[in-house]
């Protein structure tokens, strides 16, 4: 059972933006972990977690239907993650010698990572069952 609502209309753009971040975070964390893990193990591990959450959110939003709970969970985890890592990267900056997707609330990505989870949650709310448009 797959319902198209989360990937239709504005959701089309939302899924596209999520896909971009899934790709960017995956590529960045792979390179970081593959070439220089000992430099910043905490930051790079969190980078990999961010990548996994973006992939889950992209797939769940694109599928909709039964994947909606997963999309809720992924967007919530993303919101918690970006603000936790964003704050950590400022108050514990010695553990973050190199930037990651969520460093300083996504500064390196125009702060889009700080806004995106709330767009995702708002979209899931708007497209919830029994709610017309």
């Amino acid at each position: 059972m797959s319902d198209a609502s989360t990937r239709s209309g504005p959701g089309r753009i939302l899924v596209a933006v999520y896909a971009v971040f899934a790709l960017a975070a995956t590529a960045r964390s792979s390179v970081q972990i593959g070439t220089d893990f000992d430099n910043a193990p905490l930051a790079y591990s969190l980078s990999a977690v961010a990548a996994a959450i973006y992939i889950l959110a992209t797939v769940a939003l694109a599928r909709g239907g039964r994947a909606r709970p997963l999309a809720w969970a992924a967007c919530t985890a993303e919101a918690v993650g970006v603000f936790t890592v964003g704050t950590l990267s400022i108050v514990a900056s010695d553990h973050f010698p190199d930037a990651t997707v969520w460093s300083v609330y996504g500064q390196g990505y125009g702060y889009v990572p700080a806004v995106l989870p709330f767009l995702g949650l708002a979209w899931l709310w708007r497209t919830r069952e029994g709610h017309a448009g």
């Binding site: 209309g9 596209a16 896909a19």
Partner: protein, 121 residues
């Protein structure tokens, strides 16, 4: 990966981004002219990828080869995937996806130049 080439790619992608942005505002779907414009940019991107790999293989400078190759491969995939994903949505939001894809190509062409010149982080 010379500066003029990066500026050319950046400019071509910017044209597509603005064009698609205008169509989105006008509540229009992805149409044939926009598709062909994106195709022209894609040809330039594929040529850049081929040239980029040749340049990477022949340069005697110390370029971050893994990252540069990754960007070369990514930059040719973004528009086809974005246009396919956007064109299968029969509303203005599909056109908006092409805007996003073109913006990403602009950023990637800029980053390609930085990586090639070794001026990135």
């Amino acid at each position: 990966m010379t500066e003029p080439l990066a500026y050319l790619l950046f400019g071509l992608a910017a044209v597509v981004a603005v064009w698609a942005g205008a169509l989105t505002v006008l509540n229009r779907r992805v149409d044939n002219p926009l598709f062909y414009a994106a195709a022209v940019v894609e040809v330039a991107l594929v040529a850049t990828m081929v040239g980029g790999f040749i340049a990477l293989a022949t340069t005697d400078r110390d370029v971050d080869g893994v990252t540069f190759s990754g960007y070369l491969l990514t930059i040719v995939l973004i528009l086809p995937i974005g246009v396919a994903w956007g064109a299968s949505e029969k509303t203005r939001w599909g056109t908006g996806v092409v805007v996003i894809a073109a913006l990403v190509v602009m950023v990637l062409s800029w980053r390609l130049l930085q990586i090639w010149q070794g001026t990135s982080v």
